[in-house]
Protein backbone atom coordinates (compact mmCIF):
# COMPACT_ATOMS: atom_id res chain seq x y z
CA UNK A 1 0.00 0.00 0.00
CA UNK A 2 2.82 2.33 0.94
CA UNK A 3 4.63 1.54 -2.27
CA UNK A 4 1.48 2.23 -4.25
CA UNK A 5 1.01 5.65 -2.73
CA UNK A 6 4.63 6.53 -3.47
CA UNK A 7 4.14 5.64 -7.12
CA UNK A 8 0.97 7.70 -7.16
CA UNK A 9 2.87 10.65 -5.71
CA UNK A 10 5.57 10.32 -8.39
CA UNK A 11 2.94 10.23 -11.15
CA UNK A 12 1.17 13.26 -9.75
CA UNK A 13 4.47 15.12 -9.54
CA UNK A 14 5.32 14.21 -13.11
CA UNK A 15 1.94 15.30 -14.45
CA UNK A 16 1.38 18.31 -12.26
CA UNK A 17 4.85 19.78 -12.22
CA UNK A 18 4.44 21.74 -15.39
CA UNK A 19 1.38 23.54 -14.14
CA UNK A 20 2.84 24.88 -10.91
CA UNK A 21 5.13 27.53 -12.35
CA UNK A 22 3.63 30.46 -14.19
CA UNK A 23 4.34 29.96 -17.87
CA UNK A 24 6.91 32.41 -19.17
CA UNK A 25 5.81 34.22 -22.31
CA UNK A 26 7.76 33.49 -25.47
CA UNK A 27 9.03 37.06 -25.68
CA UNK A 28 10.33 36.81 -22.10
CA UNK A 29 12.12 33.59 -22.97
CA UNK A 30 13.71 35.15 -26.04
CA UNK A 31 14.67 38.26 -24.09
CA UNK A 32 16.32 36.18 -21.38
CA UNK A 33 18.25 33.83 -23.66
CA UNK A 34 18.89 36.27 -26.51
CA UNK A 35 17.93 33.44 -28.87
CA UNK A 36 14.92 32.66 -31.01
CA UNK A 37 14.76 28.89 -31.47
CA UNK A 38 12.96 27.75 -34.60
CA UNK A 39 11.88 24.28 -35.65
CA UNK A 40 12.63 23.77 -39.32
CA UNK A 41 13.62 21.06 -41.83
CA UNK A 42 16.84 19.63 -43.19
CA UNK A 43 15.29 18.23 -46.35
CA UNK A 44 12.43 20.37 -47.65
CA UNK A 45 13.97 22.52 -50.36
CA UNK A 46 13.49 25.32 -51.14
CA UNK A 47 11.64 26.18 -47.89
CA UNK A 48 14.14 24.80 -45.44
CA UNK A 49 17.10 22.55 -46.05
CA UNK A 50 20.77 22.08 -45.30
CA UNK A 51 22.84 23.15 -48.30
CA UNK A 52 26.21 21.87 -49.50
CA UNK A 53 28.00 24.32 -47.21
CA UNK A 54 26.15 22.64 -44.29
CA UNK A 55 24.09 25.76 -43.54
CA UNK A 56 20.36 25.78 -42.92
CA UNK A 57 18.83 27.87 -45.69
CA UNK A 58 15.55 28.31 -47.50
CA UNK A 59 12.58 30.56 -48.07
CA UNK A 60 10.98 29.98 -44.64
CA UNK A 61 14.32 30.46 -42.89
CA UNK A 62 14.97 33.69 -44.82
CA UNK A 63 11.58 35.01 -43.76
CA UNK A 64 12.48 34.36 -40.13
CA UNK A 65 15.95 35.85 -40.37
CA UNK A 66 15.17 38.85 -42.56
CA UNK A 67 11.59 39.72 -41.59
CA UNK A 68 10.71 38.31 -38.18
CA UNK A 69 14.02 38.69 -36.33
CA UNK A 70 14.22 42.44 -37.09
CA UNK A 71 10.69 42.81 -35.69
CA UNK A 72 11.72 40.94 -32.52
CA UNK A 73 14.91 43.01 -32.25
CA UNK A 74 12.85 46.17 -32.45
CA UNK A 75 10.34 44.96 -29.87
CA UNK A 76 12.97 43.75 -27.35
CA UNK A 77 15.48 46.45 -28.21
CA UNK A 78 18.34 43.95 -28.53
CA UNK A 79 19.92 41.68 -31.16
CA UNK A 80 18.62 38.12 -30.95
CA UNK A 81 20.28 35.11 -32.53
CA UNK A 82 18.42 32.35 -34.38
CA UNK A 83 18.94 28.73 -33.40
CA UNK A 84 17.60 26.01 -35.72
CA UNK A 85 16.36 22.57 -34.81
CA UNK A 86 14.97 19.79 -36.93
CA UNK A 87 11.20 19.37 -36.67
CA UNK A 88 9.11 16.78 -38.50
CA UNK A 89 5.36 16.65 -39.01
CA UNK A 90 5.15 14.35 -35.97
CA UNK A 91 7.41 16.28 -33.64
CA UNK A 92 6.66 19.91 -34.40
CA UNK A 93 3.66 20.36 -32.11
CA UNK A 94 5.28 18.52 -29.17
CA UNK A 95 8.50 20.54 -29.72
CA UNK A 96 6.48 23.74 -29.42
CA UNK A 97 4.46 22.75 -26.38
CA UNK A 98 7.55 21.41 -24.61
CA UNK A 99 9.25 24.83 -25.13
CA UNK A 100 12.04 23.21 -27.17
CA UNK A 101 11.35 25.62 -30.01
CA UNK A 102 9.50 28.95 -30.16
CA UNK A 103 8.42 29.03 -33.79
CA UNK A 104 7.86 26.43 -36.51
CA UNK A 105 9.12 27.80 -39.82
CA UNK A 106 9.01 25.16 -42.54
CA UNK A 107 6.12 23.90 -44.68
CA UNK A 108 3.34 23.53 -42.14
CA UNK A 109 -0.19 23.83 -43.47
CA UNK A 110 -2.51 25.90 -41.32
CA UNK A 111 -5.60 23.79 -40.51
CA UNK A 112 -8.53 24.14 -38.15
CA UNK A 113 -7.60 20.95 -36.30
CA UNK A 114 -4.05 22.19 -35.77
CA UNK A 115 -5.39 25.51 -34.51
CA UNK A 116 -6.82 23.59 -31.54
CA UNK A 117 -3.25 22.87 -30.46
CA UNK A 118 -1.14 25.77 -31.77
CA UNK A 119 -1.55 29.30 -33.09
CA UNK A 120 -0.57 30.28 -36.63
CA UNK A 121 0.93 33.41 -38.14
CA UNK A 122 -0.67 34.85 -41.24
CA UNK A 123 -0.31 32.76 -44.40
CA UNK A 124 3.11 33.16 -46.00
CA UNK A 125 2.77 30.77 -48.92
CA UNK A 126 -0.10 29.18 -50.82
CA UNK A 127 0.01 25.86 -52.63
CA UNK A 128 -2.11 22.75 -53.19
CA UNK A 129 -1.66 19.01 -53.61
CA UNK A 130 -0.61 17.54 -56.96
CA UNK A 131 1.14 14.39 -58.17
CA UNK A 132 4.69 13.63 -59.21
CA UNK A 133 4.82 10.88 -61.84
CA UNK A 134 7.21 9.44 -64.41
CA UNK A 135 6.92 11.38 -67.63
CA UNK A 136 4.25 9.86 -69.88
CA UNK A 137 2.41 8.21 -66.98
CA UNK A 138 -1.34 7.59 -67.46
CA UNK A 139 -1.95 9.36 -64.14
CA UNK A 140 -3.17 12.89 -64.87
CA UNK A 141 -4.55 13.92 -61.51
CA UNK A 142 -6.73 12.78 -58.64
CA UNK A 143 -9.35 11.51 -61.14
CA UNK A 144 -7.01 8.77 -62.40
CA UNK A 145 -5.52 7.25 -59.23
CA UNK A 146 -8.24 4.70 -58.42
CA UNK A 147 -6.70 1.25 -57.81
CA UNK A 148 -3.19 2.61 -58.24
CA UNK A 149 -0.35 2.67 -55.75
CA UNK A 150 0.21 6.22 -54.54
CA UNK A 151 2.87 7.42 -52.09
CA UNK A 152 2.32 10.25 -49.64
CA UNK A 153 4.23 11.68 -46.74
CA UNK A 154 3.18 10.49 -43.30
CA UNK A 155 1.46 13.19 -41.34
CA UNK A 156 0.59 15.24 -44.41
CA UNK A 157 -2.81 16.69 -45.18
CA UNK A 158 -2.64 15.23 -48.72
CA UNK A 159 -2.71 11.63 -47.52
CA UNK A 160 -5.86 12.43 -45.57
CA UNK A 161 -7.60 13.88 -48.62
CA UNK A 162 -6.62 11.01 -50.92
CA UNK A 163 -7.91 8.52 -48.37
CA UNK A 164 -11.24 10.34 -48.13
CA UNK A 165 -11.76 11.14 -51.82
CA UNK A 166 -10.36 8.00 -53.51
CA UNK A 167 -10.65 5.13 -51.02
CA UNK A 168 -9.73 2.59 -53.74
CA UNK A 169 -6.28 4.10 -54.26
CA UNK A 170 -3.58 2.07 -52.51
CA UNK A 171 -1.98 4.68 -50.32
CA UNK A 172 1.54 4.06 -49.02
CA UNK A 173 2.79 6.61 -46.52
CA UNK A 174 6.53 7.19 -46.10
CA UNK A 175 8.15 9.16 -43.30
CA UNK A 176 10.06 11.53 -45.53
CA UNK A 177 10.45 12.95 -49.01
CA UNK A 178 13.55 10.89 -50.03
CA UNK A 179 11.91 7.55 -49.14
CA UNK A 180 8.74 8.45 -51.04
CA UNK A 181 10.75 9.54 -54.07
CA UNK A 182 12.79 6.34 -53.90
CA UNK A 183 9.56 4.34 -53.95
CA UNK A 184 8.41 6.29 -57.03
CA UNK A 185 11.75 5.90 -58.81
CA UNK A 186 11.81 2.14 -58.12
CA UNK A 187 8.23 1.56 -59.21
CA UNK A 188 6.86 0.63 -55.77
CA UNK A 189 4.30 3.38 -56.39
CA UNK A 190 3.01 4.95 -59.58
CA UNK A 191 2.59 8.48 -58.24
CA UNK A 192 3.70 10.53 -55.27
CA UNK A 193 1.37 13.16 -53.89
CA UNK A 194 2.50 16.18 -51.94
CA UNK A 195 2.08 19.94 -52.07
CA UNK A 196 2.72 21.10 -55.64
CA UNK A 197 5.58 23.37 -54.68
CA UNK A 198 7.40 20.59 -52.83
CA UNK A 199 7.04 18.26 -55.82
CA UNK A 200 8.35 20.99 -58.11
CA UNK A 201 11.30 21.38 -55.73
CA UNK A 202 11.90 17.64 -55.62
CA UNK A 203 11.78 17.43 -59.42
CA UNK A 204 14.26 20.31 -59.75
CA UNK A 205 16.67 18.50 -57.43
CA UNK A 206 16.28 15.08 -59.07
CA UNK A 207 19.26 13.71 -61.05
CA UNK A 208 17.23 13.89 -64.31
CA UNK A 209 14.41 16.45 -63.83
CA UNK A 210 13.08 15.82 -67.34
CA UNK A 211 12.14 12.23 -66.48
CA UNK A 212 9.48 13.48 -64.06
CA UNK A 213 6.33 15.54 -64.33
CA UNK A 214 4.16 17.35 -61.79
CA UNK A 215 0.54 16.74 -62.88
CA UNK A 216 -3.04 17.46 -61.90
CA UNK A 217 -5.07 20.40 -60.68
CA UNK A 218 -4.61 21.36 -57.04
CA UNK A 219 -6.89 18.94 -55.20
CA UNK A 220 -6.41 20.63 -51.84
CA UNK A 221 -5.72 24.09 -50.48
CA UNK A 222 -2.50 24.29 -48.45
CA UNK A 223 -1.85 27.66 -46.87
CA UNK A 224 1.52 27.61 -45.07
CA UNK A 225 1.79 29.41 -41.75
CA UNK A 226 4.33 29.62 -38.97
CA UNK A 227 3.15 27.87 -35.80
CA UNK A 228 3.55 29.14 -32.26
CA UNK A 229 2.45 28.09 -28.79
CA UNK A 230 -1.20 28.78 -28.18
CA UNK A 231 -2.38 31.84 -26.27
CA UNK A 232 0.74 33.96 -26.64
CA UNK A 233 -0.69 36.81 -28.66
CA UNK A 234 2.16 39.26 -27.95
CA UNK A 235 4.66 37.00 -29.67
CA UNK A 236 2.26 36.23 -32.50
CA UNK A 237 1.72 39.93 -33.02
CA UNK A 238 5.50 40.50 -33.39
CA UNK A 239 5.76 37.62 -35.88
CA UNK A 240 2.81 38.91 -37.89
CA UNK A 241 4.13 42.49 -37.88
CA UNK A 242 7.44 41.18 -39.24
CA UNK A 243 5.66 39.34 -42.05
CA UNK A 244 3.27 42.23 -42.81
CA UNK A 245 6.15 44.72 -42.98
CA UNK A 246 8.02 42.39 -45.32
CA UNK A 247 5.00 42.17 -47.62
CA UNK A 248 4.27 45.89 -47.60
CA UNK A 249 7.90 46.98 -48.09
CA UNK A 250 8.44 44.45 -50.87
CA UNK A 251 11.11 42.50 -48.93
CA UNK A 252 8.87 39.43 -49.06
CA UNK A 253 8.78 39.58 -52.86
CA UNK A 254 12.57 39.97 -53.06
CA UNK A 255 12.99 36.83 -50.95
CA UNK A 256 10.36 35.10 -53.10
CA UNK A 257 12.27 36.05 -56.24
CA UNK A 258 15.50 34.70 -54.72
CA UNK A 259 14.04 31.21 -54.17
CA UNK A 260 11.19 30.93 -56.67
CA UNK A 261 12.13 33.45 -59.39
CA UNK A 262 13.34 32.49 -62.84
CA UNK A 263 16.91 32.27 -61.52
CA UNK A 264 15.88 30.79 -58.15
CA UNK A 265 16.27 27.27 -56.78
CA UNK A 266 12.77 26.28 -57.87
CA UNK A 267 11.17 28.54 -60.48
CA UNK A 268 7.55 28.93 -59.39
CA UNK A 269 6.08 32.26 -60.49
CA UNK A 270 3.83 34.06 -58.04
CA UNK A 271 0.32 34.36 -59.50
CA UNK A 272 -1.33 37.79 -59.43
CA UNK A 273 -4.12 36.26 -57.36
CA UNK A 274 -1.74 34.94 -54.68
CA UNK A 275 0.16 38.21 -54.59
CA UNK A 276 -3.10 40.09 -54.03
CA UNK A 277 -4.09 37.64 -51.29
CA UNK A 278 -0.75 38.15 -49.50
CA UNK A 279 -1.12 41.93 -49.71
CA UNK A 280 -4.67 41.84 -48.41
CA UNK A 281 -3.51 40.11 -45.25
CA UNK A 282 -1.57 43.25 -44.32
CA UNK A 283 -3.70 45.35 -41.97
CA UNK A 284 -3.09 49.13 -41.69
CA UNK A 285 -0.50 50.41 -39.21
Amino acid sequence: MKRLSLIWLAVMFFLGNAGLVRAETTLERIDKSGTLTIGTRRGSPPFAYVNQGNDWVGFSIDLVEKAIVPAINKKLNKQVKVEKKESTPQTRIPLLTANSVDLIAETMTDTQARRDSVDFSLTFFVTGAQFLVKKGSPIKGIQSIANRRVAAQQGSTNAKIVRERVPTAKLLEFPDQPAAFQALAQGQVQAYTNDGIQLTGLRAKAPKPDDWAVVGEFFSYEPYGMAMRKNDSDFRQVVNVGLMDAISTGLYFDIYEKWFGTKGEVPYPLSAETKRFLQMQVVPK
Binding site: A23, A113, D116, S117, R149, G155, K170, F174, Q188, K230
Partner: protein
Protein backbone atom coordinates in the same frame (compact mmCIF):
# COMPACT_ATOMS: atom_id res chain seq x y z
CA UNK B 1 2.67 23.73 -20.04
CA UNK B 2 0.36 25.51 -22.39
CA UNK B 3 -1.42 22.46 -23.75
CA UNK B 4 -5.02 21.36 -23.56
CA UNK B 5 -5.28 17.61 -23.16
CA UNK B 6 -8.22 16.10 -25.02
CA UNK B 7 -8.14 12.37 -24.39
CA UNK B 8 -11.46 11.91 -26.15
CA UNK B 9 -9.68 12.07 -29.53
CA UNK B 10 -8.59 8.49 -28.85
CA UNK B 11 -12.07 7.06 -29.12
CA UNK B 12 -14.04 9.64 -31.08
CA UNK B 13 -14.41 9.24 -34.84
CA UNK B 14 -12.20 6.70 -36.55
CA UNK B 15 -9.25 6.86 -34.20
CA UNK B 16 -10.32 3.83 -32.14
CA UNK B 17 -10.57 1.73 -35.31
CA UNK B 18 -7.16 2.94 -36.44
CA UNK B 19 -5.53 2.01 -33.15
CA UNK B 20 -7.13 -1.42 -33.33
CA UNK B 21 -5.96 -1.89 -36.94
CA UNK B 22 -2.50 -0.78 -35.88
CA UNK B 23 -2.43 -3.31 -33.03
CA UNK B 24 -3.51 -6.08 -35.41
CA UNK B 25 -0.86 -5.23 -37.99
CA UNK B 26 1.80 -5.00 -35.26
CA UNK B 27 0.77 -8.42 -33.94
CA UNK B 28 0.65 -9.97 -37.43
CA UNK B 29 4.01 -8.68 -38.57
CA UNK B 30 5.60 -9.55 -35.22
CA UNK B 31 4.13 -13.07 -35.12
CA UNK B 32 5.24 -13.89 -38.67
CA UNK B 33 8.63 -12.24 -38.13
CA UNK B 34 8.98 -14.21 -34.89
CA UNK B 35 8.31 -17.52 -36.66
CA UNK B 36 10.95 -16.76 -39.29
CA UNK B 37 13.38 -15.62 -36.58
CA UNK B 38 12.87 -18.71 -34.41
CA UNK B 39 13.30 -21.13 -37.31
CA UNK B 40 16.43 -19.34 -38.57
CA UNK B 41 17.69 -18.96 -34.99
CA UNK B 42 17.33 -22.65 -34.12
CA UNK B 43 18.95 -23.71 -37.39
CA UNK B 44 21.90 -21.37 -37.25
CA UNK B 45 22.28 -21.63 -33.47
CA UNK B 46 22.52 -25.41 -33.72
CA UNK B 47 24.87 -25.20 -36.71
CA UNK B 48 27.20 -22.89 -34.80
CA UNK B 49 27.89 -25.67 -32.32
CA UNK B 50 27.95 -28.49 -34.90
CA UNK B 51 31.01 -30.71 -35.08
CA UNK B 52 31.50 -29.85 -38.79
CA UNK B 53 33.60 -26.70 -39.32
CA UNK B 54 32.19 -25.35 -42.65
CA UNK B 55 28.65 -25.47 -41.18
CA UNK B 56 29.86 -23.50 -38.17
CA UNK B 57 31.44 -20.90 -40.46
CA UNK B 58 28.30 -20.62 -42.53
CA UNK B 59 26.14 -20.03 -39.46
CA UNK B 60 28.66 -17.59 -37.97
CA UNK B 61 28.72 -15.63 -41.22
CA UNK B 62 24.90 -15.41 -41.20
CA UNK B 63 24.79 -14.21 -37.59
CA UNK B 64 27.56 -11.64 -37.90
CA UNK B 65 26.27 -10.25 -41.19
CA UNK B 66 22.64 -9.95 -40.22
CA UNK B 67 22.89 -8.76 -36.64
CA UNK B 68 25.56 -6.13 -37.38
CA UNK B 69 23.61 -4.27 -40.04
CA UNK B 70 20.92 -1.95 -38.65
CA UNK B 71 17.34 -3.16 -38.87
CA UNK B 72 16.35 -0.01 -40.76
CA UNK B 73 18.78 -0.95 -43.52
CA UNK B 74 17.25 -4.43 -43.72
CA UNK B 75 13.80 -2.86 -44.07
CA UNK B 76 14.98 -0.74 -47.00
CA UNK B 77 16.85 -3.70 -48.47
CA UNK B 78 13.86 -6.04 -48.52
CA UNK B 79 11.47 -3.34 -49.71
CA UNK B 80 13.53 -1.36 -52.20
CA UNK B 81 16.28 -3.70 -53.38
CA UNK B 82 14.62 -7.12 -53.49
CA UNK B 83 11.65 -6.51 -55.85
CA UNK B 84 13.81 -5.31 -58.80
CA UNK B 85 15.60 -8.66 -58.67
CA UNK B 86 12.33 -10.52 -59.29
CA UNK B 87 10.66 -11.09 -62.67
CA UNK B 88 8.40 -8.19 -63.67
CA UNK B 89 5.08 -10.02 -63.37
CA UNK B 90 5.87 -11.33 -59.89
CA UNK B 91 7.14 -7.92 -58.84
CA UNK B 92 3.90 -6.23 -59.91
CA UNK B 93 1.82 -8.89 -58.21
CA UNK B 94 3.80 -8.50 -54.99
CA UNK B 95 3.57 -4.71 -55.03
CA UNK B 96 -0.21 -4.99 -55.35
CA UNK B 97 -0.32 -7.45 -52.45
CA UNK B 98 1.32 -5.59 -49.55
CA UNK B 99 4.95 -6.04 -50.56
CA UNK B 100 5.83 -3.68 -47.70
CA UNK B 101 4.31 -6.04 -45.14
CA UNK B 102 6.24 -9.07 -46.40
CA UNK B 103 9.42 -7.04 -46.67
CA UNK B 104 8.89 -6.06 -43.01
CA UNK B 105 8.41 -9.73 -42.03
CA UNK B 106 11.63 -10.70 -43.84
CA UNK B 107 13.61 -7.86 -42.30
CA UNK B 108 12.40 -8.61 -38.75
CA UNK B 109 12.84 -12.34 -39.32
CA UNK B 110 16.43 -12.36 -40.56
CA UNK B 111 17.61 -9.65 -38.17
CA UNK B 112 16.09 -11.22 -35.07
CA UNK B 113 16.93 -14.69 -36.37
CA UNK B 114 20.60 -13.78 -36.05
CA UNK B 115 19.98 -12.59 -32.50
CA UNK B 116 17.89 -15.66 -31.58
CA UNK B 117 20.72 -17.76 -32.95
CA UNK B 118 23.06 -16.46 -30.27
CA UNK B 119 20.50 -17.12 -27.56
CA UNK B 120 20.12 -20.70 -28.74
CA UNK B 121 23.86 -21.18 -29.06
CA UNK B 122 24.23 -20.03 -25.47
CA UNK B 123 21.56 -22.55 -24.45
CA UNK B 124 23.33 -25.39 -26.27
CA UNK B 125 26.70 -24.40 -24.81
CA UNK B 126 25.24 -24.54 -21.32
CA UNK B 127 24.40 -28.23 -21.76
CA UNK B 128 27.27 -30.37 -20.47
CA UNK B 129 29.27 -31.98 -23.25
CA UNK B 130 28.69 -35.39 -21.70
CA UNK B 131 25.01 -35.14 -22.59
CA UNK B 132 25.87 -35.05 -26.29
CA UNK B 133 28.40 -37.86 -25.90
CA UNK B 134 25.88 -39.98 -24.05
CA UNK B 135 23.32 -39.38 -26.81
CA UNK B 136 25.76 -40.38 -29.53
CA UNK B 137 26.92 -43.42 -27.55
CA UNK B 138 23.35 -44.78 -27.52
CA UNK B 139 23.60 -45.06 -31.30
CA UNK B 140 21.98 -41.76 -32.37
CA UNK B 141 23.52 -39.92 -35.31
CA UNK B 142 24.76 -36.37 -34.73
CA UNK B 143 21.64 -34.99 -36.45
CA UNK B 144 19.37 -37.17 -34.29
CA UNK B 145 21.25 -36.20 -31.14
CA UNK B 146 20.66 -32.52 -31.97
CA UNK B 147 17.05 -32.96 -33.02
CA UNK B 148 15.98 -35.24 -30.16
CA UNK B 149 18.21 -34.27 -27.25
CA UNK B 150 20.32 -31.12 -27.55
CA UNK B 151 17.93 -28.62 -29.20
CA UNK B 152 14.86 -29.59 -27.10
CA UNK B 153 16.86 -29.18 -23.89
CA UNK B 154 18.39 -25.91 -25.08
CA UNK B 155 14.95 -24.52 -25.97
CA UNK B 156 13.69 -25.27 -22.47
CA UNK B 157 16.68 -23.51 -20.94
CA UNK B 158 16.54 -20.30 -22.92
CA UNK B 159 13.01 -19.12 -22.20
CA UNK B 160 14.05 -15.96 -20.27
CA UNK B 161 16.46 -14.58 -22.92
CA UNK B 162 14.05 -15.66 -25.67
CA UNK B 163 11.32 -13.63 -23.93
CA UNK B 164 13.65 -10.67 -24.07
CA UNK B 165 14.25 -11.14 -27.80
CA UNK B 166 10.53 -11.53 -28.43
CA UNK B 167 9.78 -8.24 -26.70
CA UNK B 168 12.53 -6.54 -28.70
CA UNK B 169 11.09 -7.94 -31.89
CA UNK B 170 7.61 -6.63 -31.06
CA UNK B 171 8.93 -3.15 -30.36
CA UNK B 172 11.25 -3.20 -33.38
CA UNK B 173 8.27 -3.90 -35.63
CA UNK B 174 7.64 -0.15 -35.41
CA UNK B 175 10.63 0.37 -37.72
CA UNK B 176 8.44 -1.03 -40.49
CA UNK B 177 6.63 2.29 -40.65
CA UNK B 178 9.61 3.59 -42.64
CA UNK B 179 8.50 1.34 -45.51
CA UNK B 180 4.87 2.41 -45.05
CA UNK B 181 3.53 -0.54 -43.05
CA UNK B 182 0.50 0.81 -41.19
CA UNK B 183 1.34 -0.65 -37.78
CA UNK B 184 0.69 0.77 -34.34
CA UNK B 185 3.25 3.59 -34.31
CA UNK B 186 2.18 4.56 -37.82
CA UNK B 187 -1.44 4.80 -36.63
CA UNK B 188 -0.53 6.94 -33.62
CA UNK B 189 1.17 9.32 -36.04
CA UNK B 190 -1.88 9.24 -38.24
CA UNK B 191 -4.07 10.21 -35.29
CA UNK B 192 -1.70 13.08 -34.63
CA UNK B 193 -2.13 14.24 -38.25
CA UNK B 194 -5.90 14.21 -38.10
CA UNK B 195 -6.35 15.65 -34.61
CA UNK B 196 -3.06 17.51 -33.94
CA UNK B 197 -3.11 15.84 -30.52
CA UNK B 198 0.39 14.41 -30.42
CA UNK B 199 0.69 13.71 -26.70
CA UNK B 200 -2.57 11.78 -26.49
CA UNK B 201 -1.71 9.70 -29.58
CA UNK B 202 1.80 8.89 -28.36
CA UNK B 203 0.56 8.10 -24.86
CA UNK B 204 -1.99 5.67 -26.30
CA UNK B 205 0.71 4.01 -28.42
CA UNK B 206 3.03 3.74 -25.44
CA UNK B 207 0.40 2.17 -23.22
CA UNK B 208 -0.60 -0.32 -25.91
CA UNK B 209 3.02 -1.42 -26.44
CA UNK B 210 3.42 -1.71 -22.68
CA UNK B 211 0.28 -3.84 -22.38
CA UNK B 212 1.32 -6.09 -25.28
CA UNK B 213 4.80 -6.58 -23.83
CA UNK B 214 3.48 -7.30 -20.34
CA UNK B 215 1.05 -9.84 -21.79
CA UNK B 216 3.84 -11.58 -23.71
CA UNK B 217 6.07 -11.56 -20.64
CA UNK B 218 3.26 -13.09 -18.55
CA UNK B 219 2.64 -15.85 -21.09
CA UNK B 220 6.35 -16.59 -21.41
CA UNK B 221 6.70 -16.75 -17.64
CA UNK B 222 3.98 -19.44 -17.58
CA UNK B 223 5.80 -21.27 -20.37
CA UNK B 224 9.04 -21.02 -18.43
CA UNK B 225 7.44 -22.54 -15.34
CA UNK B 226 5.89 -25.33 -17.35
CA UNK B 227 8.93 -26.37 -19.38
CA UNK B 228 11.57 -26.00 -16.66
CA UNK B 229 13.58 -29.22 -16.34
CA UNK B 230 13.88 -30.18 -12.68
CA UNK B 231 17.52 -30.53 -11.74
CA UNK B 232 18.87 -28.81 -14.88
CA UNK B 233 19.01 -25.37 -13.35
CA UNK B 234 21.07 -25.34 -10.19
CA UNK B 235 19.07 -22.73 -8.30
CA UNK B 236 15.32 -23.12 -8.18
CA UNK B 237 12.77 -20.36 -8.20
CA UNK B 238 13.17 -18.08 -5.18
CA UNK B 239 10.10 -17.13 -3.24
CA UNK B 240 8.96 -13.61 -4.03
CA UNK B 241 10.46 -13.74 -7.50
CA UNK B 242 7.96 -13.32 -10.29
Amino acid sequence: MNYQFAWSVLWSGQTGTWLLQGVLVTLEISALGWLVAVVLGILSGALRTAPIAPLRWLAAAYVEFFRNVPLLVWMFFWYFSMPPLLPNALQDWLLDHSAEFWAGVCALGVYHGARFSEVIRAGIRSIPKTQFEAAVSTGLTVFQAYRLIIVPIALRLIVPPATNETLNLLKNSSVALTISVAELTFQTRQIETYTAKAFEALAAGTLIYLALCLAIAAVMSQVERRVAIPGMIARGRQSGEF
